[in-house]
Amino acid sequence: MSDEAVPAIKPSLPEEQPMIPQPLVELHGWGRAAGTMSHLAQIDSVADAVSALRKSDSRGVVPRGLGRSYGDAAQNAGGTALDLTKMNRILSLDASGDPATVTVQAGVSLDSLMRALLPFGLWVPVLPGTRQVTVGGAIAADVHGKNHHTQGSFGNHVRSLDLLMADGEMRTLTPDGDTTTLFWATVGGMGLTGAILRATVALQPTETAYFTVDTHRAANIDDLMQQMSQGDENYTYSVAWFDAVTRGRHMGRGVLTRGNKAPLAALPTKLRRDPLKFVAPSLGTLPEIFPNRMINKATAKAFSTAWYLKAPKDRTGELQNITQFFHPLDMVAEWNRVYGPNGFLQYQFVVPFEAAEVFRRCLEMIVSSGHLSCLNVLKRFGPGNPSPLSFPMPGWTLTVDLPIEHGLDRLCDALDNEVVGAGGRVYLAKDSRLSAAMFRRMYPRLDEFLEVRREVDPAGIFNSDLARRLELSKPTTGGRT
């Protein structure tokens, strides 16, 4: 991996060497539904990646990180998935720059990046609901966090990235200049413009690893949306959990948590001794013992009521650590097993602010559908970025986790219709069921993306189940037999 330290990478194409045929393994997303069989190629170096690309057949290759996208983005039935999680070195840090930047291999997880950066008083600018995602995946899905309304999505903070393209060449792309089109198609491009192998990301200074958090309960969805609309600009981070089970006048009651990075002065003396401590307790790994229907009327109702009532009515200035504030679910590894072997899907959509009525109607449809969701998130997005397939746009976004059960297809189709009618869309990193026709309507800039793809990957070497499902790749037949 010594070639990794050289700034400009010119991959030398290795001689054809006998490769041990990779057996087929079942790959699925975090939702554990719709798994298929792919060849998993372990990538330890740029040369490995080039070699895997050269050896790919008409089923193609797709980069894969930690497998946290919920659907079929990082699997490739009959083709190859490039496991990039061993490309996990932090290559260089420019702590004195303005802003400070870090250059990493794409397989570095946000978890390890945060652990490495905090001692320098540096902060990863965008954190999704889990730290267990790779930098490459964060760019390819253009992930967002609780600070989207103030700081945008992950792609907004990428200063440059190195993309291994279908022709076997590596190119360095930047947000501006000659490479701007390909850069922004790669941001949110779900790994279909090439394999991101390294990236330089701008960082933020931080005095502590703590947050000052204000928590408010809201009695129903209108109250919640109104509270969120007021004063979000005073907080870097803002998100709400809501109850998607209770009907009637308390429909959509929720808990709003908003906060800012705590300055050193806000810490009690005890914590000031180690203000940048990374607090990430682990409660263990969930065993594979849960049946389907663990989430039923009784458990969902009990959870939702308890979650609502345990939250303080109004509390301001509470100090929370990273895990409390950002990633409570990261305390339990493999928590998706709670949904049983049938798996689940996460439905996340955004509609413009003007369509608040549609948003409310969608919530009603979910609550009255009989499908039960416990982990529900409501957030206001800020402006989007230039990426043609990036998900965030100014508006309300809602996320529900739904166990896969009979009739869920009808609910999701009905929600799609509402969302697309309001000019909104669903998030590809969560999606595992959208049809190509609906996808096209939701992403009006799709043709821009497809044009870039035709140019940089005319044969469709980068391919995935998601690409086939959403018709982002040209039809392929045949392959390895």
Partner: protein, 250 residues
């Protein structure tokens, strides 16, 4: 790709004008679903295509001649020209007059070719495609008549017994490569194939068979009976001693 909710993106209906095949297509129909209708060119095929287009499907009509084995490769190739096939249904079959079938060697041969030889040949051609794409389902329409072959329709029954065994075995062979096979054993189906025959207890409609197929694929099953209770009936009948079985009015 079949999505997380079990909805396919593409179907291949071999015997695309059969009532069961069309019932399956209607249930899966949604805007953008690709359907390859493989059958003999006929008004019925055109009407089926029109109906599915009206439901928003993108339909390709493909010629299929079950007894012309040499043509099968072209049929399959045309069906896959639009991309992967998520679910391929082998729905064609021939009942024939049961008494004539064991007196008339030509009819016996025709039944054997249409109901067994052709599905085996097409099954192998399909499985080559499924191996390459490493996902997808082959659905084979078997029959309870093949579970224990009866005197009353043993030529037909024997062809279904052969088909049943072949596709169950093919399913085991394909499993580790990501492709799956579903064998469907309906009882008496009220369809154009059985029109004019006297109905028997536990008779089902093509729609009920279609529903069982869809649930079977969602549940990743290898074998479904339609209706479900037939499984119990047949597992009893399977063990009835021959002298007694002979006397049963079935």
């Amino acid at each position: 790709m079949i999505n997380a909710l079990g909805e396919p993106q593409s179907l291949l209906l071999l015997g695309g004008t059969s009532d069961i095949a069309l019932a399956i297509a209607r249930r899966y129909a949604r805007p953008g679903l690709r359907v390859a209708l493989a059958a003999r060119p006929s008004e019925r095929r055109s009407a089926a295509a029109t109906e599915l287009v009206d439901l928003g499907c993108e339909v390709t009509e493909v010629n299929l001649e079950a007894r012309d084995h040499a043509s099968h490769a072209t049929t399959v190739e045309q069906a896959f020209a639009g991309g992967d096939i998520d679910i391929a249904v082998i729905a064609f079959g021939l009942l024939g007059d049961p008494e004539q079938a064991w007196h008339d060697p030509d009819l016996a041969l025709e039944l054997a070719e249409v109901n067994y030889t052709a599905p085996v040949h097409l099954g192998v051609l399909l499985s080559q495609r499924m191996l390459a794409q490493a996902h997808g389902w082959i659905v084979a329409l078997s029959s309870v008549a093949g579970e224990r072959v009866r005197r009353s329709n043993f030529v037909y029954g024997s062809t279904k017994a052969g088909l049943d065994g072949f596709f169950l075995g093919l399913g085991e062979a394909l499993r580790e490569y990501g492709a799956r096979v579903l064998v469907v054993r309906p009882g008496f189906v009220k369809s154009k194939m059985t029109s004019g025959l006297e109905e028997v207890p536990l008779a089902v409609t093509p729609d009920e068979v279609a529903e069982a197929v869809i649930d079977g694929i969602k549940g990743k099953r290898e074998l479904v009976w339609v209706p479900g209770p037939l499984r119990v009936v047949m597992s009893g009948l399977r063990h009835v001693p021959r002298p007694l079985f002979r006397k049963l009015p079935i």
